[in-house]
Amino acid sequence: MNLNIFLFSAASVKEGGKDCLRVAIQPNMSCQGWPATAGSMALEKYIALEDSTVVRLLKQAGARIAGSTHMSELGFGLVGDTGNRTITENHADAALITDNMGEARVAAARSGIPGFKPSYGIVSRRGLIGLIPSMECWGILAREISEIRSVMAAICVMDDQDFSMTCDRLPDFDDKQCLKEPSGVIGVEEGYEKRLTTSEKAAWQTAVSAMEKTGFQIVKIRMMDTALFGSVHNVIGAVEASSSAGKYDGVRYGHRTSNAGNWNEMYLKSRGESFGTLIKSYLFQGAYFQFENYAAFENACRIRGQLLDETMQAFTHVDWMASLTIRENHYACKVSNIADMYESFSFTAPASVTGLPALQLPGIALYGNTDFGLQITGPPLSDPALLALGVSLGKKQKGGPAK
């Protein structure tokens, strides 16, 4: 086991066959008997009591859970995350990373591999030690899109224990119709280029011409201030995180202070010692909105609805929407404050706010040696077609066969 990559490995576990799909998970995804620390001292020594639905479905499909990687604290951002290295260093064929604001897509873009965030509510969150329940989902990184599709085919199954799975009919990832050459209209936000640096703009123009060469029509669409996506995510995400992390008190599991005179002191000190600076700032923000400025939270919820309406309106004119995946000089794995964090996920947060499927494609939005990643977002439940589109675009770029 490579301790730099894995927190816990399944080397001794005889699951799956020799040629089975190897899937790396994070320790916030319950796998019975494995440490489920979610990258936080607040869950120190916590062992999962049962398999999450996704882990169970993967095992049923013949996959082998290769191990759980190091991860950012409670899945917020990518500081300390090693999920992408399981793919680039060939320890796994696919890696699952919690996607709260674009973590899976950004991690994939930084590694030059595909990364996918499915539609919200098509994969069970049961067993996910989550942080932002209205946005979080399991993101997938892999070397090829075909591997992402295999994982999705295994885990996109209705789970009546997760009430956020509300759609009547789940997408079919085995449907051959979705493998047809996709075409159509790709929308880009009017004025998007003005938000980009010179390098980003050059990479974006490369991507636009690649999409046009592939046969897609590119149209400009007018959106309300897209910076609102980040603000809305920040307010709602912080409030939900503050609630979600409220249970970590160091009593039944997790770090407990050795220096407390009474139970109130024990809670305060245990929590104070457990959380890192970044997550602590986020939880403070959430508590502020909960207790001191609830109107801001209500406004954020209202604006979220408007942003969703507007995005859905845009999808009546276009089939897909595109942007870059990552920003220049903003490294999600090195951020030290919340503002930096949101800046580094500014292109990916919108799909998390709206719950739409989004695919990060490597090798298309290039400038020099830098790959900024091309992110395609689809309408709700268009996941299989979105993966097919990714295969098509990739094939045109490489000139190779679709995978």
């Binding site: 869950l43 049961r126 008190d249 139970w263 609830y294 939270f297």
Partner: protein, 475 residues
């Protein structure tokens, strides 16, 4: 200055469903600690709540029983606060979108004219765990029992419509009866399946202002609620007389000392919508099915009992108090010509006897048919009232017909005039002064003579026959 009280109640009622609100753990109060638990109700990381349809159904029926409008859409929020009995850090409750709104109950507090008291809303919520404070040697320790965690509650929030402790008590009695009728809960304050918090403020009589209220907790019976409210009204009036402001806070009722004492500042945490819990959408067809399941409620039953059986309102109220007892009454008077007699026997003898034995009508061998047979025996002078009461008591424990008990115990009434006449003559002979007393107008002596005869016959003599015989003899 004369003040009037403004009282609103917040009533938690634990639903008697077989399982908890968000998991399939048994909802069984009284079991050994921490046996009815799972990752969901232990609120462990990764567990997701799963709303019980059965709980929803029972809650909806309870709301209908309280004349509320069930909302087409309701949803759960996270009520954020931390306490060791809620280690999740928030309680799932319905703050923004409650299950039902705009209900009411009619009370007859000492008058024939009903007074309608409003219910603002009813929401569903999960119960918290139970803390047990003990000592280990000299060290105080606190233990947590999660059996209660996640048990289903409805919280009934009234309008501030009550003006006296009596009205609050009457409201609670009516509410308890209504909910018991629906079968959703036993509503026992003593056993903890009903918990009442009272919000009390006072204002100059005749004004409409809503002044600062004080919340009072820890009342374990309806009488305690009345006592606590009465004390609090007096205390607040005293504050105002002394120009001391009434401060918003929570107080605890101390039944022993009959006082309320400050507990803490009133806490009101934020409520954030929970995206992980199912939104409740109720359509008209489903609601119509639930309405059809609602039994005839006491208020309608009272009117029917008055109209159909000629009961007085007080009698009808007692007969409709408990659903099972009302059904017992109705079956007892099928083909029985004296429904008021049956009602009076139930009110005067059966209910006190059940209370004394701490039993319900459902768990004693007495059937309506046997009860009717007993009344019939008395009507036919086969047994007297004393014997009938004795037989009734035995039928609560012995699985026997009244005839069997009467024969076995020799309770059959002696109505034979010849037999009784001998006894009457002997008693009169032994008490010659009684004749003089009677003749000089002291009618009480007749009762004394009848009592002596009953003593001799061990209560078996027919008092009507005795009265006739003594009257004739003394005259």
């Amino acid at each position: 200055m004369k003040y009037e009280a403004v009282i609103g109640l917040e009533i938690h009622v634990e639903l008697n469903t077989p399982t908890k609100l968000f998991c399939d753990c048994p909802n069984r109060p009284g079991d050994a600690p921490n046996v009815n638990i799972c990752p969901v109700c232990l609120w462990l990381p990764g567990a997701l709540p799963q709303l019980s349809r059965e709980v929803l159904e029972k809650a909806v029926i309870a709301c209908l029983g309280l004349n509320c409008t069930v909302q087409p859409e309701s949803a759960f929020d996270q009520k954020v606060y931390y306490y060791p009995d809620l280690p999740k850090g928030f309680q799932l409750s319905q703050h923004h979108k409650p299950l039902a709104r705009n209900g009411y109950l009619d009370i007859f507090s000492g008058s024939q004219k009903p007074r309608r008291l409003g219910i603002h809303h009813i929401h569903l919520e999960e119960d918290v765990a139970k803390l047990l404070h003990e000592t280990e040697g000299r060290t105080p320790i606190s233990l947590v029992d999660f059996n209660r965690a996640g048990a289903p509650l409805i919280e009934i929030v009234t309008e501030p419509d009550m003006r006296s402790p009596e009205e609050a008590m009457e409201f609670l009695k009516v509410l308890r009866t209504q909910i018991r009728y629906t079968g959703a809960s036993e509503c026992s304050l003593e056993k903890g399946s009903m918990r009442v918090d009272a919000n009390i403020s006072i204002r100059p009589e005749g004004t409409c202002v809503l002044n600062t209220k004080v919340e009072v907790k820890n009342m374990n019976s309806i009488q305690h609620v009345g006592d606590a409210i009465a004390y609090e009204i007096k205390r607040q009036a005293g504050c105002l007389e002394k120009n001391e402001p009434v401060v918003l806070h929570t107080r605890l009722w101390d039944h022993e000392k009959q006082v309320t004492s400050p507990m803490r500042a009133k806490f009101s945490g934020p409520c954030v919508p929970d995206p992980a819990v199912a939104r409740i959408v109720i359509d008209d067809a489903w609601l119509a099915e639930r309405k059809a399941k609602l039994p005839e409620m006491p208020i309608q039953k009272v009117e029917r009992f008055i109209a159909s059986y000629g009961l007085k309102r007080d009698e009808a109220l007692v007969m409709s108090q408990e659903r099972e007892l009302s059904e017992f009454f109705e079956k007892s008077v099928t083909d029985y010509h004296q429904p008021r007699k049956a009602a009076n026997w139930i009110a005067a003898h059966l209910i006190p006897a059940l209370k004394d034995k701490q039993k319900d009508i459902s768990n004693v061998p007495l059937s309506p048919e046997r009860f009717q047979a007993l009344l019939g025996m008395q009507d036919r002078d086969e047994i007297n009232a004393n014997a009938a009461r004795e037989v009734l008591l035995r039928m609560l424990t012995d699985d026997k017909n009244p005839e069997e008990i009467v024969e076995a115990k020799g309770f059959r009434q002696v109505s034979d005039s010849d037999e009784l006449e001998i006894i009457v003559e002997r008693i009169v002979e032994k008490n010659p002064s009684g004749i003089q007393d009677y003749k000089s107008g002291n009618m009480k002596v007749l009762g004394f003579f009848i009592g002596q005869a009953m003593k001799v016959t061990q209560g078996k003599a027919n008092p009507k026959v005795l009265k006739e015989l003594f009257t004739r003899k003394l005259s």
